[in-house]
């Protein structure tokens, strides 16, 4: 390394050639992915080259080398983690959906409906949310039209009572 720092190309070449398999082992042990490890070997060799002036000859060379290799590894892992998550534009859409008033209202309605008995919940859902007519709802649920009307009426009354209870 010292000869390399002085600009001796032959010993520099020897040094890099010796470091390459060492670095390959270092990255392979930590990544287990041959292609990524080889990329990092090359990146680290370039960094060693670009930053060789930062080596202080009074300090151990291996500490310097490993600090650079570790830095490149962390850098790589950080980039890989970002890539694994959603692209930014899509993530924005996900949050926007969550934030809208409609989404919040929908969630509240579902919470309230969940407290109704099964039969009444189905009636309210059909007539008020899916928008079916009383006759259609009656056909689907097998009740008479007036039965549907009464059921929906009671369900809505129960719902408004729940809301009232919460407010109080």
């Amino acid at each position: 390394m010292l000869a390399s720092l002085a600009g001796d190309a032959v010993s520099y070449r020897t040094l890099l050639a010796q470091l390459a398999p060492h670095l390959r082992g270092f990255f392979l042990r930590r990544l287990g992915n041959g292609a990524d490890a080889e990329d990092l070997v090359q990146e680290t060799l370039i960094a060693i080259h670009a930053k060789r002036a930062t080596y202080d000859p009074s300090l151990p060379f291996t500490a310097w080398l490993h600090a650079i290799a570790r830095y490149k590894l962390i850098d790589h892992l950080r980039r890989a983690r970002i890539r694994r998550t959603l692209p930014l534009e899509e993530a924005d859409a996900v949050f926007a959906e969550e934030r809208t008033e409609a989404a919040i209202a929908r969630r509240d309605v579902e919470v309230l409906l969940a407290q109704l008995p099964e039969a009444k919940r189905a009636l309210v859902r059909r007539t008020k949310i899916e928008g079916l007519s009383t006759a259609e709802a009656a056909r689907q649920s097998g009740l008479s039209e007036s039965g549907v009307k009464v059921g929906v009426h009671r369900a809505l009354k129960a719902l408004s009572q729940m809301i009232g209870d919460k407010r109080r």
Binding site: R52, T54, L59, I68
Partner: protein, 213 residues
């Protein structure tokens, strides 16, 4: 590209590493920054008028020496953080020494003063501007230090930036002490330190952005 080919390319026509040049660049950067801060202090604030009388007092010297010692140790810390694999823990621990010294002096002054003077000892007359003037004077030192750090290879850019900020803040504070005519050690311990820490935090943020490689 094959790794072997890369090695050939890198080794081809390799030049001496220029370790001296790297170091000189940092010294030039912070030297120019400190000089600019000094001129800024002269022009913008002016040296305190009672300098001859003040030069005989302990508080005058402690105001200069506390940040100066902090800066010297901070520089050692910075040099280590700027190089991969160098251990910065010793200078980091040593930074406690100037802080402990000024705190001890502050406590002594505090304890021996009547209670009616406590407020003045801590807040002085300029507590509102003191930290911010230190931040202002630190700007050129900060810029010069960061410029000088380019080419180094901090493996923890945030921490190295923090050290660079503390260093710039401390240099600035010792220059500011030539203008400042506060006489309370508790004032120095609190407000000087606050100014230094503000610059340090700015450095931590800037380091994460500017010192990556």
């Amino acid at each position: 590209m094959k790794t072997d080919a890369l090695i050939d390319r890198l080794a081809e026509g390799v030049e001496p590493a220029g370790m001296q040049a790297l170091r000189r660049r940092l010294l030039n950067g912070l030297g120019a920054g400190a000089a600019a801060a000094f001129v800024l202090m002269l022009v913008l604030l002016g040296v305190r008028h009672d300098l001859p009388q003040a030069a005989g007092t302990a508080i005058y010297w402690s105001k200069i020496l506390y940040p100066l010692l902090f800066a010297v140790i901070g520089f050692a810390m910075l040099l280590r953080l700027a190089r991969p694999g160098a251990d910065a823990r010793l200078p980091m621990a040593l930074e406690i020494v100037p802080v402990a010294a000024i705190s001890a002096f502050a406590w002594m002054q505090w304890a021996s003063a009547p209670e009616a003077e406590h407020y003045a000892l801590l807040m002085g007359r300029t507590w509102l501007v003191c930290p911010w003037l230190i931040v202002l004077l630190a700007v050129p030192v900060f810029a010069g230090t960061f410029w000088g750090l380019r080419g180094f290879a901090p493996t923890r850019p945030g921490l190295a930036g923090f050290a660079a900020g503390l260093f710039a803040g401390a240099v600035s504070a010792s220059i500011y002490a030539l203008h400042c005519n506060e006489g309370g050690a508790p004032f120095v311990a609190l407000w000087y330190s606050l100014g230094i820490v503000i610059v340090g935090l700015a450095g931590a943020l800037a380091g994460r952005l500017l010192l990556r490689w």
